[in-house]
Assembly symmetry: C2
Homo-oligomer: 209 residues x 2
DNA sequence: TATTTTATCCATCAAATGTTGGAAGCGGTG
DNA sequence: CACCGCTTCCAACATTTGATGGATAAAATA
């Protein structure tokens, strides 16, 4: 299982890699139940049984996508953490918003996929763990909202969740929200970043209430 | 079609009403594709063909739920609009957050359903229009972020969208986020309201940047 | 009571969907 | 060439799922 994933990550041009990438996109668009194995196979351009040959069950593939995303996001957060070291809180927030937006706008299926995990139940369930909790704590510390790794205030965590969600929503909901604003894609990116900063920075830089 | 819906809305204890309520919940939890007509029938406690007898196709039922929610939310926003008249901006925001949170926490399937509409594509699609655009404009005006009904600034709309989404996310994502905060349901409600106010009010009450 | 309408369920169908077996192609190795 | 492992596809199967027909009961109507 894990070895398959490793192989796919290491060589994205391999068949396993191509399948993983396609699966991520289709699952991200239609959710677990909305996606059929035939849709994924078609996206890769292979026969359905070739897909099964490489990956086995649908659920297996789905869980692999989750693990893959977990790793990718972890990397991204590390990258941000390094970039913001030593900056002021306002600057840290700005950088974090910019980097995260750029990454997610380039990979819109990522935020879509994550939102499906949050809000959609999956029949036959079996709680797949997407490691948000870990991320949230790391972000809270990187942003300087918490000092002690052992104890992060509820307020800090909740705030980070709110921010994190706002980003995901704007990216995944572009098709829905952009027509309402009547602007094009590039303008949308700018508006999203500005809006996030407009809302978030005052909240965190104000005097403690 | 519409007459069926009207009947169901008028008499929630009728079979049509019970079906509509159950459908809303199940669709909200599992999304369109994740929901089977049999699941809905079972939730009502009737045979599947009885369901078809009353509502016809699955898609029909789904669209009825959307129309039903549209109406319900429109009412809720009117209610808020009346409550906040004449108050200060900060107070308007507080009241809006409180009322909206109370409503959605009491009907969690609502926010779930809406989020599915935003982010999930539905195979066979055919754009169902959920009238968010209308809501957003109304809220912007009610909150005093825009003066002219004809022209609402992009910034105002985008801000309202961000707020609106934050609320939905916290409610729908309770199962996901609450364990991270390690608090119980009642505390969660308080934290959500506080966090939303903490983040949003400073943004909108600060001096114009 | 007789008849018609309404509502419910059982059994079933056809299509979609997850999944598998086996044949065929293809590259390398003896 | 003959053999072998790897990959791919065609065909098929079992289950799930959307949807329907017809029998049956309950309620309304005459």
């Amino acid at each position: 299982m894990v070895s398959k994933l490793e192989k796919a990550r290491q060589d994205p041009s391999s068949m396993k890699g191509k399948i993983l990438a396609a699966a991520r996109k289709v699952f991200g668009e239609y959710g677990y139940h909305g996606t059929t194995t035939r849709m994924i196979a078609k996206a890769v351009g292979i026969d359905i049984s070739t897909l099964y040959y490489h990956w086995g069950e649908k659920r297996d593939l789905y869980e692999s996508v989750i693990m893959d995303l977990n790793e990718e996001i972890r990397q991204k957060l590390l990258e941000i953490e390094n970039k913001v070291k030593g900056k002021s809180l306002a600057t840290r927030l700005e950088i974090a918003i910019d980097v995260m937006c750029d990454y997610l706008f380039s990979n819109p299926e990522v935020s879509n996929f994550i939102l499906f995990l949050y809000f959609g139940k999956t029949r036959g369930d079996s709680s797949l763990n997407f490691k948000v909790s870990e991320y949230i704590s790391n972000i809270a510390i990187a942003m300087g909202l918490a000092l002690d790794k052992k104890y992060i205030p509820v307020k800090a965590k909740a705030s980070v969740i709110a921010v994190w969600n706002s980003v995901l929503n704007f990216i995944s909901g572009e098709d829905f929200f952009r027509p309402m604003l009547d602007i094009d894609h590039d303008e949308y990116i700018v508006v999203v970043k500005d809006t996030l900063k407009f809302i978030l920075i005052p909240a965190f830089t104000q005097k403690q209430s």
